[in-house]
């Protein structure tokens, strides 16, 4: 983390509010889709929306956007691994 910078340089109040509104909209989408009985697709939509929400939180609330490349790469490796774990498991669930 670069201690010479302050968070205010990059993130104003408006960014946080926008992030919060985005999260609310995404939550509304999850709830709506859950009631639509889309079958196997409903899980997919829920996972994708949850991933986007986690990404938004990481990027803006947790300031990943303003970090150095090394931190970003480390987080991407972890996220990539998690996606592969979940993705490969779906080859079982979807084709059983």
């Amino acid at each position: 983390m670069d201690n010479n910078r302050t968070d205010q340089e990059h993130t104003g109040f408006d960014v946080y509010v926008l992030t919060w509104v985005t999260l609310l909209i995404l939550t509304a989408i999850t709830v709506t889709v859950a009631g639509m009985h889309l079958g196997k697709l409903s899980v997919l939509v829920a996972v994708v929306v949850a991933t986007v929400k986690a990404g938004v939180v990481l990027y803006f609330f947790m300031h990943l956007k303003y970090e150095s490349a090394l931190f970003k790469i480390m987080v991407y490796v972890a996220l990539g691994t998690l996606m592969i774990f979940v993705g490969l498991t779906f080859f079982d669930i979807l084709f059983r």
Binding site: T81, L88, F91, D92, I93, F95, R96
Partner: protein
């Protein structure tokens, strides 16, 4: 590397004498990475002896059909505890927590790890987890009988003490994660000037790859074990088909961690072998970058193959086929390592010493384990030998023949550096011979027994399997005798062994440039590294 004269060999205070607290407190409260490494070593070897004793009793029970020593329920507890102790308390911390702690900072020219207090906490968590695991044997409604895998739905329904044992594994997982975070940060942040990524010893590369897996995969089993505990306490139904749950999901979550764990166990062992081979062949390592990258490749590919443990579980054929295919790929980086080690020895000036003998047995036994792994990674073959002694033979060849032999090799290689004394080399070689012969006598018959259809985890068996079981049990006696001779030789040498100088093997990496045992913060001043790790120029052979 920096300077091959032993620095400060004249007047210095070794880390054993530099202590802040008296007696045992100087150990259990120390944040010195070397003391923590030795704490891990001593505690892991103690757990290993417990696990070995249980294994000995199991083999004795199986020498003939019918009851010999214990009843079936006790036998079930035996194989569960043997697995839990050997996996979670010996081979998962393995070379990483013991030799990794001791040598990682020295190898990269650092005075300690990045987070020394976190390092001590990881040992405390390890001991807490170990204590809980041992407590689970004697408290509640009997020792767990699920096997080390805690498979649902049995682990939810059995009346035995699963909650405590699963929680023990959960705590041990935290210890592993902390070590991983510590090592990752240390390698990124604390390398000495001039210690570029490709000047790091290969042991460090293997620890680095392992640390990534510890951090990424261990949380999965942590969550999984908590789910099992929640199932038992609250009946939440995640793994219960009667409530819409899925017991196969348990197996996915379990093996998402536990297959990478196989590589968490074996990779640091491979790293140690990569240190030993050049030193005793008096040649630079063959294919340094390939070995370094293969560690990362093994870590990456090893995380994608967990489904090969589940071919007969009821998972989809599509998933089984994909996992079988991916499994074949792991053989490539593993073979890269094996061929590079052999190429390192080719036309080298080979010095037959105990570390090299153990290292060569590692290559042989791990190759047998790896190749049988290819057999059972093949979907069509595995269906026939799944849950037979073939599997038991396979994983003992990879885990014990692999990680175990590498551990013994590393122990003999670094012993003079860690303790400043040399062991009796003739006794060490004799112990190696007994261990090697005993090992093969114990575990090779298991391949044949499994091939013939002997199921694993069975208390009793048909009379036609007795021949194999008798040979196997006799092998266990030879193996255990060899291990006891090896350990008594080392323990005796702690006090009476000949004093070892700073570089008894003629090694080239940084640990051989400091006195034995090393001073408190390893180096008088942080070295400037201007050589490759296995450059033998100017290093005299011993």
């Amino acid at each position: 590397m920096a300077n091959h004269a032993i620095v400060g060999a004249g007047a210095y205070v070794d880390f054993y004498k530099a202590k802040r607290y008296p007696g045992v407190l100087s150990w259990i409260l120390s944040t010195d990475h070397k003391r923590i490494g030795i704490l891990y070593l001593a505690s892991m070897l103690s757990f290993f002896l417990v696990g070995m004793s249980i294994g000995f009793l199991m083999r004795l029970e199986l020498i003939a059909p019918g009851k010999q020593l214990v009843d079936p329920q006790t036998y079930n507890a035996f194989f569960t505890l043997h697995g839990v102790i050997m996996i979670f308390l010996f081979i998962v911390p393995g070379l990483s927590a013991s030799f990794g702690n001791f040598f990682l900072p020295i190898h990269i020219g650092a005075p300690d790890v990045a987070f020394p207090r976190l390092n001590l906490l990881s040992w405390w968590l390890f001991i807490a987890g170990g204590t809980l695991a041992v407590l689970s044997m004697f408290t509640g409604s009997g020792p767990p009988d699920t096997g080390w895998t805690f498979y649902a739905p049995y682990s939810i329904r059995t009346g035995t003490n699963v909650i405590l044992a699963a929680f023990a594994a959960f705590v041990l997982g935290f210890s592993s994660i902390l070590t991983g975070i510590n090592f990752l940060t240390t390698v990124h942040r604390m390398r000495a000037p001039g210690m570029g990524w490709f000047r790091m010893p290969l042991f460090v590369w293997s620890l680095y790859a392992t640390a990534w897996m510890q951090v990424l995969a261990t949380p999965v089993i942590g969550i999984n074990l908590l789910l099992i505990i929640s199932e038992r306490l609250f009946g939440i139904g995640v793994f219960d088909p009667a409530k819409g749950g899925d017991p196969i999901l348990y197996q996915h979550l379990f093996w998402i961690y536990s297959h990478p764990a196989v590589y968490i166990m074996i990779l640091p062992g491979m790293g140690a072998i990569s240190e030993i081979m050049p030193v005793f062949s008096r040649r630079t390592i063959f294919g340094y970058k390939f070995i370094a990258y293969s560690s990362i490749t093994i870590a990456a590919l090893g995380s994608l193959v967990w489904g090969h443990h589940m071919f007969t579980s009821g998972q989809s054929y599509v998933a089984s086929t994909i996992f079988s295919l991916l499994t074949m790929l792991v053989a490539i980086p593993s073979a890269v390592k094996v061929f590079n080690w052999i190429a390192t020895m080719y036309k080298g000036s080979i010095h037959i010493e105990a570390p090299l003998l153990f290292a060569m047995s590692f290559i042989f036994l791990f190759s047998v384990g790896g190749l049988t792994g290819m057999m059972i990674g093949t979907l069509s073959f595995d269906v026939h030998v799944h849950d037979t002694y073939f599997i038991v033979g396979h994983f003992h060849y990879t885990m014990f023949g692999g990680m175990g032999m590498a551990f013994f090799a590393a122990l003999h290689y670094w012993f003079p550096k860690m303790f400043g004394r040399m062991y009796n080399k003739a006794v060490a070689k004799m112990a190696w011979l007994m261990i090697f012969v005993g090992f093969n006598t114990l575990y090779f018959p298991m391949f044949i027994l499994g091939w013939l259809g002997m199921p694993r985890r069975y208390y009793d068996y048909l009379p036609q399997y007795q021949g194999g079981h008798v040979v196997s049990t006799i092998g266990s006696w030879i193996l255990i005798a060899g291990i006891l001779i090896m350990l008594s030789n080392l323990i005796r040498s702690l006090r009476t062994g000949e004093k070892a100088d700073g570089n008894p093997w003629g090694g080239t990496t940084l640990e051989w440039t400091v006195p034995s045992p090393p001073p408190l913060e390893n180096f008088e001043k942080i070295p400037h590294v201007d050589r490759d790790p296995y450059d033998f120029e100017g290093v005299s052979a011993r």
